[in-house]
C-alpha cells in the first residue's frame, strides 16, 4: 500500500494537478461562502468542465471543490451568523459570538484548521479501509449487490427523508428514469419515443444539474422575487479584531474534540443517506456533553467550531469508502463524484482497485495534497472570503442559471440536454415543494442501472428460488437490515395510533 501511495504521489504531483486542485478549492470556498449555493451545486455545475481533464485531475479538482465548499460555509456562519451551508449551521452558534467579542479571524482559523485536520484523518481512514472493503465486496455476487443496494435505498429513504414512503417513491422514480434508453441485454430501445437523443438514456449531467443545482437556484430566485428584495444578508458591524493569533499548540490542545469529531464524521460519512449536516450536529452535541464547561457552548467556545467543522469535513473522505469499494455513494456529493468517474470511463466498485489502482492511489495522493493546499489557500484568503459574504445573491444567482446552461451544453453540444435539464429543474422544484427527496431521485437514477443488472442476474441465476437467501449470509443480513429500517420508519406512526384510539 505504501509503495502504491508513493507511486500515486508521483503521478499526482504535477503542475496541472496542483493548479486544478487549488482552483477547485478556491471555487469551492467562494461558492460555499455564498448562502444557498454549496458544494453540491458547485460540483454539479463544474462536472462538465472536467470532461477535458485527465481522470486524476478531474476527480482531484472536484474533490477540491467539495472540500472547499464544505469548509467555506463556516465563513458567513462566523461573520454574519448566517451559514453558507446547512452543515455549518452549528459553527454559527459559537463562531458568531467569538466574532462579536473581537475574534473573527481566530474563529475562522479554528474552522479552517479543524476542517483540514478532520479531512486529513478521514482521508487516511479512506486509504486504510477501502482496500479491505473492496476485498470483501469482491465476494459479492449479484444477489449480495442487489441486497446492499436495497438496504442503501431504504437507509436513504428512512433516515434522510421526513417521510420514508416519499423517500422510496423518489428513489424508485429515479430507478425508473434510469431504464430509459437501450435495454442492457437486448439493446431494445426502452421509452425512447423514437428520439435518438434518448438511446443512451437521459444525460446524467442534465438530470443532476437540473434537479440539484438549477432547481435550488430557481427556488431562491422565486422566493426573492416574491419578497421583492435582494438576497444580501443584513448584518450588524463587528467590533475591530482584538485577537487574531491561533498557534498550533493552542489548536492541538483540543485534540480530544478533534479526534472524536473526525471519527464521528468518518463514521457517518461511510453510511449512505446520513449526510454531512447530521455529522456536524451529532458531533457538536457530543462535544458539549464531553466538555467540562457545557454552558459555555453557544457563547463563543472554540470547541463548538472544532466539533462542527472537523466532523463535516471528515465526511468528505469517508463517504468515498462505499463509493469506491462498492460503487454506492454515501451522499449526493459522492454520487456526483461517481458520475464523474463514470464519465471518465472508470466504474467504481470492487474491481476498481484492481483495474484502476494507479488512478485510485493518485486520487488518494491528490486528496492528501488538497488538504495541505486547503490550509494555505484558506489561510491566505481569509481577508478575501470576508468580502465575498457581502455579494448580493440577486446578482449572483441569474449568472448561475446561465452557467448551468453552459455546463450542460458543454459535453455534447446538445440543446436537447439543455431541455432535459430545464424539465428536471421544474421537477426538482415540484419535488422539493411537496416534500419528495430530489437527492433520492438522483441517487436512484445513478444506481438504477447497477440495481437492474444485479436484480435480473439474481433472478435468472437462482430462478426465483428464495432458499438461496439462506446460503448467502451477506444478502440475508442486508435484506433484514433493510426490513428493519422500513419497520423503524413505520414505527412512530404505529405508536401514535393506540394513543389516538384511546382518546
Amino acid at each position: 500500500m505504501i509503495d502504491q501511495l508513493i507511486a500515486g504521489f508521483a503521478e499526482a504531483l504535477t503542475f496541472y494537478n496542483v493548479l486544478f486542485i487549488t482552483l477547485g478549492l478556491v471555487l469551492g470556498i467562494v461558492i460555499g461562502v455564498i448562502p444557498g449555493l454549496g458544494s453540491v451545486t458547485a460540483m454539479a455545475v463544474l462536472i462538465p468542465v472536467t470532461y477535458y481533464m485527465s481522470p486524476v485531475t478531474a476527480i482531484a479538482f472536484l474533490v477540491g471543490v467539495n472540500k472547499g465548499g464544505t469548509s467555506g460555509g463556516a465563513i458567513p456562519a462566523v461573520l454574519l451568523n448566517s451559514p453558507g451551508t446547512a452543515e455549518s449551521a452549528a459553527s454559527a452558534l459559537d463562531g458568531y459570538p467569538m466574532a462579536k467579542r473581537g475574534e473573527p479571524e481566530r474563529a475562522m482559523k479554528f474552522a479552517l484548521y479543524s476542517s483540514v485536520t478532520g479531512d486529513t484523518i478521514s482521508d487516511m481512514l479512506l486509504i486504510v479501509l477501502v482496500v479491505p472493503f473492496a476485498t470483501i465486496a469482491l465476494q459479492f455476487g449479484p444477489l449480495e449487490f442487489a441486497s446492499v443496494l436495497l438496504f442503501a435505498f431504504t437507509l436513504l429513504a428512512g433516515i434522510s427523508s421526513a417521510s420514508p414512503v416519499k423517500g422510496l417513491i423518489a428513489i424508485f422514480f429515479g430507478v425508473f428514469l434510469a431504464t430509459i434508453g437501450l435495454d442492457p441485454v437486448d439493446s431494445t430501445p426502452r421509452l425512447t419515443f423514437d428520439q435518438i437523443h434518448l438511446y443512451d438514456g437521459l444525460s446524467l449531467i442534465a438530470v443532476a444539474i437540473g434537479s440539484l443545482a438549477l432547481s435550488s437556484v430557481a427556488a431562491q430566485l422565486l422566493d426573492m422575487a416574491a419578497k421583492r428584495r435582494g438576497g444580501g444578508v443584513p448584518h450588524e458591524a463587528l467590533p475591530p479584531s482584538t485577537n487574531r493569533h491561533l498557534g498550533a499548540v493552542e489548536f492541538f490542545s483540543h485534540w480530544k474534540t478533534i479526534i472524536r469529531s473526525s471519527l464521528f464524521g468518518s463514521g457517518v460519512g461511510m453510511l449512505p443517506g446520513l449526510g454531512v449536516t447530521l455529522a456536524a450536529f451529532l458531533s457538536y452535541g457530543a462535544a458539549r456533553k464531553a466538555s467540562k464547561d457545557p454552558d459555555s457552548f453557544g457563547k463563543g467556545n472554540p470547541e463548538g467550531i472544532i466539533a462542527t467543522e472537523a466532523a463535516n469535513s471528515a465526511v468528505v473522505g469517508a463517504n468515498l469508502v462505499p463509493a469506491l469499494a462498492l460503487g454506492i455513494p454515501g451522499n449526493v456529493a459522492a454520487a456526483l463524484l461517481i458520475s464523474a468517474f463514470i464519465i471518465h470511463g472508470i466504474v467504481p466498485g470492487p474491481f476498481m482497485m484492481t483495474m484502476h489502482g494507479d488512478v485510485v492511489y493518485a486520487l488518494f495522493a491528490s486528496m492528501l495534497m488538497a488538504n495541505f493546499l486547503h490550509l494555505i489557500v484558506g489561510r491566505l484568503g481569509i481577508p478575501v472570503w470576508a468580502l465575498v459574504t457581502k455579494v448580493d445573491q440577486a446578482y449572483v444567482l441569474p449568472i448561475v442559471v446561465m452557467l448551468c446552461v453552459t455546463g450542460v451544453y458543454l459535453p455534447s453540444q446538445s440543446l436537447f440536454d439543455v431541455g432535459v435539464m430545464l424539465i428536471f429543474a421544474v421537477l426538482g422544484l415540484v419535488m422539493s415543494r411537496t416534500g419528495f427527496s430530489v437527492v433520492g431521485m438522483v441517487i436512484g437514477f445513478i444506481l438504477g442501472g447497477l440495481f437492474e443488472t444485479s436484480l435480473r442476474q439474481s433472478l435468472l441465476l437462482y430462478k426465483s428460488d428464495y432458499s438461496v437467501l439462506l446460503e448467502s449470509p451477506i444478502a440475508l443480513a442486508f435484506l433484514l437490515l433493510a426490513a428493519l429500517v422500513i419497520l423503524r420508519g413505520m414505527w412512530p406512526a404505529k405508536r401514535q395510533e393506540p394513543v389516538h384510539d384511546a382518546q
Binding site: V175, V185, F193, D392, L397, A425, V426, T434
Partner: protein
C-alpha cells in the same frame, strides 16, 4: 407547511402518482417498450414495470396516509403561491430554451441576468448592468478559448 396542508399535498401527490404510474405500467411501457427478444432472458419491459409497480404501491400508501390524516385534522387553507411560482419557472424555462435556440446564448444570457436580477430585488444598476452585458459574452468567450466549444 402545517400538518393539514402536508396531508392534503400527500393525498394529492399520492393519487396523482398512483394514476400516472398505473398509466405508465398499463399503457406507456407496453406501447413504447418491445417484448422479449432473447430466449431465457427477462423482457425489456420487466424492470421498468417493476420500478413503476413499486412507485404505484407506495403512492397508494401515501394517498391513504394523506387522506387518513386529512380526515383527522381540520383542513387549513392552501395557498396558490407554490403553484404560481412553479408555473412561472416552467414558463421561464420554455422561454429560456427558445431564447438560447433562436437568439443565442449571449443575448438570452443578458436578458436573464438583467430581468432576474431586477426581479430578485437587485437595485444597484452600477453592478447589474455591467454584469448583465459583460458576463454572458465573457462566459461564451472563455468556453470557446478553453474548450473550443461555441455556445449557441
Amino acid at each position: 407547511m402545517s400538518e393539514p396542508v402536508h396531508s392534503r399535498t400527500d393525498a394529492i401527490a399520492g393519487s396523482v402518482l398512483a394514476v400516472a404510474s398505473a398509466a405508465a405500467i398499463f399503457w406507456m411501457v407496453p406501447s413504447f417498450v418491445d417484448g422479449p427478444m432473447t430466449e431465457g432472458q427477462f423482457s425489456p419491459r420487466f424492470f421498468p414495470t417493476f420500478a413503476l409497480s413499486v412507485v404505484l404501491g407506495l403512492s397508494l400508501v401515501l394517498a391513504v396516509q394523506g387522506l387518513t390524516r386529512l380526515q383527522q385534522d381540520a383542513p387549513a387553507a392552501a395557498t396558490a403561491g407554490p403553484v404560481i411560482q412553479t408555473a412561472t419557472w416552467a414558463l421561464f424555462s420554455a422561454l429560456l430554451l427558445a431564447g438560447v435556440t433562436h437568439a443565442g446564448f449571449i443575448i438570452t444570457g443578458i436578458a436573464v441576468v438583467l430581468i432576474w436580477g431586477l426581479a430578485a430585488g437587485g437595485r444597484n444598476l452600477k453592478i447589474l448592468v455591467p454584469a448583465g452585458f459583460l458576463l454572458p459574452p465573457l462566459v461564451a468567450f472563455a468556453v470557446q478559448a478553453a474548450f473550443g466549444v461555441q455556445l449557441p
